[in-house]
Symmetry: C2
Subunit: 259 residues, 2 copies
Amino acid sequence: MRIWSIANQKGGVGKTTSVVSLGGLLAERGARVLLIDLDPHGSLTSYFRYDPDSLETSLYDLFFNQRCKDLDYIRTVVKPTSRKGVDLLPATTSLATLERQVSGQDGMGLVLAKTLAQLWDDYDYALLDTPPILGVLLVNALAACQRLVIPTQTEHLALKGLERMVHTLRMVMSSQNRQLPYTIVPTLFDRRTQASVITLKEMRQLYPEHVWQEAIPIDTKFRDASHEGLFPNELDSSSRGVRAYRHLLAELEQAEEVK
Amino acid sequence: MRIWSIANQKGGVGKTTSVVSLGGLLAERGARVLLIDLDPHGSLTSYFRYDPDSLETSLYDLFFNQRCKDLDYIRTVVKPTSRKGVDLLPATTSLATLERQVSGQDGMGLVLAKTLAQLWDDYDYALLDTPPILGVLLVNALAACQRLVIPTQTEHLALKGLERMVHTLRMVMSSQNRQLPYTIVPTLFDRRTQASVITLKEMRQLYPEHVWQEAIPIDTKFRDASHEGLFPNELDSSSRGVRAYRHLLAELEQAEEVK
Ligand SMILES: Nc1ncnc2c1ncn2[C@@H]1O[C@H](COP(=O)(O)OP(=O)(O)OP(=O)(O)O)[C@@H](O)[C@H]1O
Ligand SMILES: Nc1ncnc2c1ncn2[C@@H]1O[C@H](COP(=O)(O)OP(=O)(O)OP(=O)(O)O)[C@@H](O)[C@H]1O
Ligand SMILES: [Mg+2]
Ligand SMILES: [Mg+2]
């Protein structure tokens, strides 16, 4: 199983959109995909018409009573999406209380890693959608994944957030004594805006080894897809946005082979 | 002093942009304005070229040693912005640790209200920028303000977030035994997208008393302004986005008079 986290502590940069877009494209090629919603806000869960306020079970339940090691239990929590071949491990809003409940207990940063070890043969890819804040959920995602994708807007404020995300990554990785490859993905790029063009250049200068050489353009079709609860490539497989994510997926897979 | 909170638990909906836009327009008319950054990510602080990772003092320091009652101390924490008449009470990333440090202590939800009681004669307006998560910082903002502005995108996923924000508001208000008027402001509206138009209609049906009758359009000038560290009305006072915020300000002030 390949496990990719999609994370950025800045809100509204296209994390959920990236998870859904990449997930749909992996399924198009026949891969078995699991999407995991680690955000107490539950955008990914809502995207597929599940209600994060009233679902019976979710990722939350795996943090208690060693359930993260019980494959039969885990499989009861996983839900289908609008596309065959893509499942969802949903979030509930109760995840917001996790920080206070588990702070100080050992091993709480590894619950997701243990869950995915159980599901290892059920899926080819797991994509992790994370909340825009550093806490036990983001730490779980960074501990469980093999690669990090950092969507970031091409605007001035985003550079500061990017610096902090990379700093957080280095901190968490040094405490776990391992390296994690990361790819910075410029999103919501608008080539008509001077600020976007300048910031994209600055980003490439600051992180020459890590910024993807293209960018995801602004494309109104993403909203249409989320309105319908469809994967973007199911709504329109040749839109500008989907084509850009297809290029990104090719780049991410190539980087995996090189490793 | 009038105190308005700008809040939504969903990320990237235009909270910081709304604070900066409304703040700049209030100053244009001669009001003395204080902007307060309650987001550990520090977007508002970064907007004015202060560094949330290295500032000496910030809102964080007011949560300790009764400093929120010490007017001289508070005035040393406040910083100037790019426009005369608008000051900033900045954030530092240390605010992210507040949740763990103060949980269980009494009165931590009222630190900001006490701070603003001290600054009451220094400013005509205080605008509070909040983080996209329910916690001690958002509770402080809701406890301190007299009106809540909820920016929300006109897209399907946002309706779920809006429902949760209104639910949170009712919960916090009933624990404080008071009412808080709120205005829902549709942002990033794109009239070319079918999903935007449909969602806006749905929003008006769900919250007939609270949704502003216009919407803030998508306008690339906001990014240019943040790139320059200028208030949007300083960069271009007649852009579509600034004009829309001017209409919003007129509506908010009218609602205040009626009260
Ligand atoms: N390339 C794009 N073009 C146009 N709109 C986009 C694009 N990417 C994302 N969006 C829109 O921007 C908004 C924010 O995206 P999304 O919810 O994916 O961000 P996020 O980082 O997951 O936010 P949060 O921090 O709240 O989890 C959504 O309305 C989405 O439809
Ligand atoms: N009306 C608009 N038109 C175009 N871009 C906008 C508009 N409003 C906000 N933006 C852009 O959208 C992005 C998100 O806005 P902003 O940072 O204000 O949201 P936020 O709700 O404060 O996010 P967070 O949850 O991270 O605090 C920024 O790049 C901003 O420039
Ligand atoms: Mg998201
Ligand atoms: Mg903000």
